[in-house]
């Protein structure tokens, strides 16, 4: 049984997703919807990290319930940089790249939840399955947002001035 490994891997990937979302949010502070929605979605992943740490205990893995995040200084440097270049058009291309990256990260996390949910069913671990049922939809929503926002942003970035 390698459920502990699946939990550990998911804990790692959700943790990583928090840093991806927060750094993307900071980098695009001048793009208000990206800034706020990324932070809201990071809240989902933070809660997933807590829940995975709790679930991990039942399977003998000791995981940090608090998501590790980049230092506050780095975040404020990114935000300031975003405000400084906010009057130029180059951040648009960067945004498309970041959305593409986020989509792939979110898809990866979604697959990790798929693995956990399947294994939980195989092992008849009801609580773990419930956990996956609660959390998995949010990583799918995250990927959908990245896809949708890419659709909105790309015409103006590519065709615009």
């Amino acid at each position: 049984m390698k459920l502990d490994l699946a939990i550990e891997e998911l804990h790692r990937s959700e943790n990583h997703l928090v840093t991806v979302l927060m750094s993307m949010s900071d980098k695009h502070k001048a793009d208000h919807e990206v800034f706020h929605v990324c932070r809201d979605m990071a809240g989902w992943s933070r809660r997933h990290v807590v829940e995975l740490a709790r679930a991990g205990r039942d399977f003998g893995v000791d995981l940090d319930p608090e998501a590790s995040e980049d230092p506050a200084l780095l975040a404020s440097v990114r935000q300031r940089a975003s405000e400084l270049v906010g009057r130029r058009s180059t951040p648009g291309l960067l945004l498309l790249a970041d959305l593409r990256h986020l989509y792939r990260e979110a898809a990866g996390v979604s697959l990790d939840w798929e693995i956990l949910a399947q294994s939980a069913q195989g092992a008849k671990e009801r609580e773990l399955l419930d956990l996956a049922r609660r959390c998995h939809p949010q990583s799918l929503r995250l990927a959908r947002w990245a896809n949708a926002h890419l659709k909105v942003a790309s015409p103006q970035v590519i065709v615009g001035w």
């Binding site: 208000h32 929605v37 809201d40 896809n147 909105v152």
Partner: protein, 817 residues
């Protein structure tokens, strides 16, 4: 004939009535300068333009000038009544500072010019940019105060002619969430309510809706029910002690930004106690299991903790709503301009679906509008949506529209949702939108974080066109200013929140060279040489009635079907409710009868969006979720507001409106009775917060947030502790400093608000900024705030707001005055 001071008594005299009875008629009239009816040359049919209620009225004309107004006794909306803004606001039409000639910027200054020069400058720059960059350089920002014919023409020019996706209206600030919430639940915009629901409802729930001040005549109807036999119970959700709160059976005053928690707790109680119509839910909705699961955790105790509303009150409100036999619900800015706007507004729809209270007398939802013609901005596609509630992500709808317009479907942008104004501004900020055409609105006062807005609009690289009737703060920043005619000076139709269409006829000529907005738009289309796919002119009309006829064809077979209407039909009698077609020649009072919605995948206006991220739902998902077009019960989780109070900024600031003013006071500030009733900005604070700081009524306070400062006199009011309120109406046009604060302190509430919006409806958030206050100077009298409204004082000796002799208006109960 009885005369009433309608500043002191905004709702006039009571005409009590009981459930199921007809609301008695009371005809209100105001004529200026001591004129009597004998002095009036003619009465010209219209409806009110300074709020969203849609009250039928006649304009009095003497010697070619507007001299007064009278309510139309036959009108289904108001039964003759008028509100203070209707009675006095028309005087702005006659203001000496109306724009009468086009202006262009030369060497930094706006100077007068002729129409040809001005229009050639506009069309020339537009063509230049189309050649250089294409339609992505061009954007339009309109209003909720033009007429249907103008919106339809504007939408055609922008979408079908220029082909830009950057089209929005200031309805984004007032009713975007109403439209979004209706689309989420019912698949389509369109109000499932009628004002006559007030006549028979036994419970009226108002969510963030200070109806007493925003729709005074509708509130008059409620007051008359409350004064009659078997009055309805009223539930009020509002952090301020508004006139609605004072009349309420239960008043919930939640912490700003927590509406979703409160609504989920109400649903938790309603579902938990079985106050739902299971047969209706099973037959006519999808999504119940998910909703039930979502609200399970939101107990009244959780609401008490998050919203700071006693759990007992939440239970009591749920019991009143849950035991209603005929429930009418309304919502406005307390929900729409707050955090998680659509998610909260949708839960109101959910209550009605769960209780099966739709499509019957007394059982309606009014997701209100803020402006008189906002419904038409939405219907006609001037808010960026495609006209007649066509779905931009449904190819068949786009093809059908291309057929109506005789253009290539690819010409109509439909690859992504329309660019809402806040995103347009972002594109202007980074330089990819370089042409902005503003009609009849004032973003330099009404949008959030004004320092940023001004810095964007003032950019050299942005060509700004402003079409308005006064030199507003925004017009002062423009490259070209086009003087427009307004209500009473042009003909057109508009539709209110309960789908009532009114005709508003031209009563007098516009001043100077000012022209109707429709004429200006048609002129623009001609100068741009916009053509259809056969090479004929794209805009095939030049007068309002032909525009209306064209719109009728565009609306054929859609939910907002106007094909049964005509100018002739609208003349003389009352307004008519859409849909109005061959089958329903007199209009349709109730939609969604027997659970029949416009939500089928091939029919609906929208497939919906994610309640937190705002990502559009894809067609395939929607088809799987809702193949037969039922109501969608959409659940939403709570997400905390993005700016919370802390040590440096301990208060939550909400902005809002007052009964006597409309928008940025361009008209109401020029009507003496209205201006005198609320002459200057004020700030409201609770008695306990004021006592903690030793502040008293009238103290001059400096209110600040990380974005700016405003000075305002303190009104100690019934607002909940921890919250400050600023009216948003006050800008700078009458301060001598032009379009900005100048050297003095700020006056516009939006100096303080944050740039953030609901990801679903894209409506900016005006109700959750963190703020602090300091006293600048002690009081030298009470704050300049009305005493008759939500800003009523709770301390001190404040003289009551009155209008004196100049505000005396006739009231005749039962008929014509």
């Amino acid at each position: 004939m009885p005369r009433t001071d309608r500043i002191a008594e905004p709702w006039g005299s009571r005409t009590p009535y009981g459930p199921g009875e007809t609301w008695p008629t009371r005809v209100d009239q105001y004529l200026a300068d001591g004129l009597t009816e004998d002095d009036v040359d003619r009465w010209v049919q219209s409806a009110s333009i300074l709020h969203s209620n849609g009250d039928g009225l006649d304009i009095a004309v003497t010697d070619g000038r507007i001299v007064g107004v009278r309510g139309r006794a036959v009108d289904r909306v108001n039964h003759g009544r008028l509100g203070p803004k209707d009675l006095f606001g028309w005087q702005a039409n006659n203001s000496p500072d109306r724009l009468t000639r086009p202006l262009v910027r030369r060497d930094g200054e706006l100077v007068e010019t002729d129409w040809d020069t001005a229009m050639d400058a506009v069309a020339g720059r537009c063509r230049e940019l189309l050649q250089e960059q294409g339609p992505s350089a061009i954007s339009f920002y309109t209003t909720g105060q033009l007429f249907l014919e103008e919106y339809y023409t504007l939408g055609l020019i922008a979408h079908g002619g220029i082909g830009t996706n950057h089209v929005d209206g200031n309805t984004r600030l007032c009713t975007a969430t109403a439209a979004a919430a209706l689309k989420e639940t019912f698949g389509c915009d369109g109000q499932p309510g009628s004002y006559t629901d007030v006549d028979s409802a036994d419970v009226i729930a108002l969510y963030g809706h200070n109806m007493a001040e925003t729709q005074t005549v509708l509130w008059t109807r409620v007051l008359d029910r409350l004064a009659g036999p078997n009055p309805p119970q009223v539930v009020c959700v509002d952090p301020r002690e508004t006139p609605v709160a004072r009349a309420a059976t239960v008043h919930l005053a939640p912490r700003p930004g927590t509406n979703v928690v409160l609504m989920n707790a109400l649903l938790h109680e309603i579902i938990g106690n079985g106050w739902i119509d299971r047969d209706y839910v099973e037959a006519h909705s999808v999504g119940f299991d998910e909703l039930e699961r979502q609200v399970r955790a939101y107990t009244p105790e959780v609401a008490e903790e998050v919203c700071d509303v006693p759990a007992g009150q939440v239970r009591e409100a749920a019991r009143v709503i849950g035991s209603a036999q005929r429930l009418l619900s309304t919502a406005l800015q307390g929900f729409y301009q707050s955090h998680q706007a659509t998610a909260a507004a949708v839960q109101i729809n959910n209550i009605h679906v769960l209780r099966g209270m739709l499509g019957r007398p007394g059982c309606g939802i009014l997701q209100m509008n803020g402006q008189p013609t906002a419904q038409n901005t939405r219907e006609c596609g001037a808010d960026g949506d495609l006209p007649a509630f066509r779905n931009w992500s449904n190819d068949a709808h786009v093809q059908d529209l291309a057929r109506v317009w005789n253009v290539d479907p690819m010409q109509i942008p439909h690859y992504s949702p329309p660019t809402h104004v806040m995103q347009q501004l972002r594109y202007m900020e980074e330089g990819s939108i370089r042409f902005l055409y503003v009609t009849a609105t004032n973003p330099a006062v009404s949008l959030p974080e004004l320092a940023r807005i001004r810095s964007i609009l003032a950019q050299d690289r942005l060509f700004l066109v402003v079409q308005d009737i006064f030199l507003s703060e925004t017009a002062q920043l423009a490259d070209v200013v086009l003087p427009a005619a307004t209500w009473g000076e042009k003909t057109g139709t508009f539709t209110n929140v309960d789908r009532t269409v009114h005709l508003s006829e031209k009563a007098v000529d516009p001043p100077g060279e000012a022209r109707p907005d429709l004429d200006i738009l048609v002129d623009l289309a001609r100068r741009l040489d916009l053509r259809d796919r056969d090479g004929a002119p794209l805009v095939k009309w030049s007068d309002p009635e032909s525009a209306f006829e064209a719109w009728k064809e565009c609306s054929r077979g859609r939910p907002c079907d106007y094909t049964g209407l005509s100018y002739d039909k609208l003349r003389g009698g009352s307004g008519v409710q859409w849909p109005c077609d061959d089958e329903h020649p007199d209009g349709t009072e109730r939609i969604y009868v027997d659970g029949q919605f416009w939500a089928r995948p091939d029919q609906c206006e929208s497939y919906g969006r994610d309640m937190v991220t705002g990502a559009p739902v894809e067609e395939t998902e929607y088809r799987a979720l809702n193949p037969t077009g039922r109501a969608v019960l959409k659940a939403a989780e709570y997400v905390p507001p993005h700016e919370l109070p802390g040590q440096d900024f301990p208060f939550q600031l909400i902005t809002g409106r007052t009964l006597y003013h409309f928008h940025t006071r361009t008209k109401t500030g020029r009507a003496p009775q209205l201006q005198d009733a609320a002459p200057e900005v004020w700030v409201e604070m609770s008695a306990s917060d004021a006592a903690d700081r030793g502040f008293v009524e009238g103290d001059l306070l400096d209110v600040s947030t990380p974005r700016g400062r405003v000075q305002a006199g303190l009104r100690i009011s019934g607002i909940r502790p921890g919250v400050l309120f600023l009216p948003f109406h006050y800008g700078y046009w009458d301060t001598g400093s032009g379009s900005e604060p100048g050297t003095g302190e700020g006056r516009a509430a939006n100096e303080l608000t944050l740039t953030d919006w609901d990801p679903v409806s894209k409506q900016p958030i005006f109700k959750t900024a963190a703020a602090q206050v300091q006293r600048v100077a002690p009081a030298d009298g009470p704050a300049p705030a009305p005493t008759t409204t939500g800003s009523a004082p709770v301390t001190g000796q404040v003289p009551p707001t009155t209008g004196g002799d100049d505000a005396l208006a006739h009231e005749l109960v039962g008929g014509q005055p």
